[in-house]
């Protein structure tokens, strides 16, 4: 296992330690060592934005802590939902008196732990509402859309929720905008190699050289098919089509495109892939309002990319364009 680590069982602890030191200009630790917050959180009179999930997805989740973005994050073990107590503490750390929006991804563990955290909060007098991201198209058929996993579309959900909250919206308005954002978001991933959990020391599954796995999940959950590795143009064609058909996206739509590497895919390849996606979208007459290309939501050292499309209306556009200053996503007002 070619990894720069110390004790494999302590990777999350040490990563969090390094992360807090590296970004002390933007984030602070809290009494719960696994809960990190935006330095100025809780922001008085602003709806708090909370998320969280298993580790191994850097810069998600804590890389999105910051101004007009996420206020507090619960940091789980590698690929494992944070315990209820962490979500509880994160919600408390984010509460500025106007309620807290917990915007997270649809995984069994996260669902249970957030649910329990909210129960634990019953006596604290904090109003909490949730949006559960389910943007990963291949993870379940449209007829069971509520079973779909949340993937990189979560970033746009946080961006929208964070901007809306910063604009002074109420908890219900923030929740409605974040929900609208995820309802208009569709994602799909492709894997070209497995990933290795540091504590396990070897990959948990195989993708043979010369093959790729379409629809792979953020933790290596198996996709819809394993096929021969194809040129970027064919990969992009397949993935873009699945995403376009599902919402569906239509000619004239304004969209955000987010291409994220899965951890071990060089930017070179990500831009070549994006180039192909852009050609397809342009040919279909979609307007790309904003593009993101980079390692935004990863799966340890997996090779591959995810594609995320968000269909915009005016409200979502304002939120996407809104200034923000988090670690992994910084935007000046256009």
């Amino acid at each position: 296992m070619q990894k720069i680590i110390n004790d494999p069982d302590l990777v999350v602890e040490e990563m969090v330690e390094g992360f807090v030191k590296a970004h002390s200009d933007l984030i602070s630790p809290t009494d719960n060592e696994r809960v990190l917050k935006y330095k100025h959180a809780p922001v008085k009179g602003k709806v708090g934005i909370v998320t969280g999930g298993g580790s191994g997805h850097k810069p998600a989740f804590s890389g999105y802590l910051g101004k007009n973005m996420v206020d507090a994050v619960a940091v789980g073990e590698i690929f494992s939902s944070p315990p209820a107590m962490m979500f509880y503490d994160a919600i408390k750390a984010a509460d500025g008196g106007k309620g807290v929006a917990v915007l997270y991804g649809n995984y069994a563990g996260d669902n249970m732990n957030v649910k329990m955290a909210i129960e634990m909060l019953e006596d604290d007098g904090i109003e909490v509402k949730t949006v559960v991201a389910n943007d990963d198209v291949p993870s379940a058929p449209k007829s069971e859309i509520e079973k779909r996993r949340g993937v990189a579309g979560e970033i746009l959900m946080w961006k929208v929720g964070g901007a809306k909250a910063a604009m002074g919206a109420s908890l219900d308005e923030v929740i409605a905008a974040a929900q609208k954002s995820i309802d208009n978001t569709r994602s799909i991933g492709v894997g070209l190699s497995p990933c290795t959990l540091p504590q396990v020391g070897h990959p948990n599954f195989e993708i043979e050289p010369g093959k790729m796995e379409m629809g792979i999940g953020h933790h290596g959950e198996p996709g819809t098919e394993v096929v021969d590795l194809a040129p970027a143009s064919i990969i992009a064609e397949k993935m873009t089509q699945m995403v376009l058909d599902d919402l569906p996206f239509e000619t004239g739509d304004d969209v955000v495109v987010l291409v994220s590497g899965l951890g071990a895919t060089p930017y070179l390849e990500q831009y070549i892939y994006f180039n192909e996606v852009e050609k397809i979208l342009s040919a279909k007459g979609l307007n790309i309002h904003k593009s993101y290309v980079g390692d935004y939501f990863t799966s340890l050292d997996m090779q591959g990319v995810t594609l995320t499309l968000l269909k915009l209306d005016d409200e979502l556009k304002n939120c996407i364009d809104y200034e923000c200053n988090s670690i992994a996503l910084k935007q000046f007002s256009p």
Binding site: S80, S81, M85, M112, G220
Partner: protein, 213 residues
């Protein structure tokens, strides 16, 4: 004698911790086939933290299960934190204050555990989860005790039912958790949670039997 003392029952907690530690790699390997390969890691980490806390803060069986439950819920997370957290919380609560752990207490403990779990998990029999070890085990325990078998025999039946329930998960298609997304491809291998659950129930039964004899 048909029971054991809550104090001596701490041995059950110790042995459960040990069996999970010993099966760390095995449980992860099983989880790796249709899940994300961390079940053994998660479990072992929580149970080891509990072991450490119990060294400085020892107590009887109810206390041990209580500590385990608290640690799973505050430190472990995943699916296992809340699920086993609730499970051990019930084992603790239902035996708390009982100096003698007898038939009635044991029955209350496991019935309570299943009730608690049902609150947070929608898992039914056949969904390929730890419930597929737990539910048949509880039925066997209840039936055996109802039939007047006595605690040691009932525990033996509970263990046997947990193990055969675990083995039946091989033929099942996962309906919940990460593996559910695999559809038919989840058939053919053990469920990790059912495997750890059978280990826990089996260790409970064996150790309690030793304590009774």
């Amino acid at each position: 004698m048909s029971g054991f003392s809550n104090d001596s029952g701490k041995k059950i907690v110790d042995n459960i911790i040990q069996v999970i530690q010993e099966n760390r790699q095995y449980l992860s390997d099983i989880d790796g086939k249709i899940g994300d390969g961390d079940h053994g890691i998660n479990m072992s980490k929580g149970f080891t933290l509990c072991q450490q806390e119990l060294e400085s803060n020892p107590g009887n069986m109810s206390h041990g299960f209580g500590v385990l439950s608290k640690i799973l819920m505050t430190k472990i997370g995943g699916s296992m934190g809340p699920l086993y957290g609730m499970f051990f919380k019930a084992l603790s609560k239902e035996s708390e204050g009982e100096p003698e752990i007898n038939e009635a207490v044991v029955r209350g403990m496991f019935n309570g555990a299943v009730n608690k779990l049902s609150v947070i998990s929608p898992a039914k029999k056949g969904d390929k989860t730890l419930m597929d070890a737990l539910l048949p085990a509880l039925d066997a325990l209840n039936n055996s005790l109802d039939g007047g078998d006595g605690l040691t025999i009932a525990l033996k039946n509970m263990k046997k039912a947990a193990e055969s329930g675990r083995d039946k998960t091989i033929g099942m298609q996962a309906k919940l958790g990460r593996s559910a997304r695999l559809g038919e491809r989840s058939i053919g291998v053990l469920d990790a949670g059912a495997t750890s659950c059978a280990l826990i129930l089996g260790t409970f039964a064996d150790t309690a039997t030793d304590l009774i004899n």
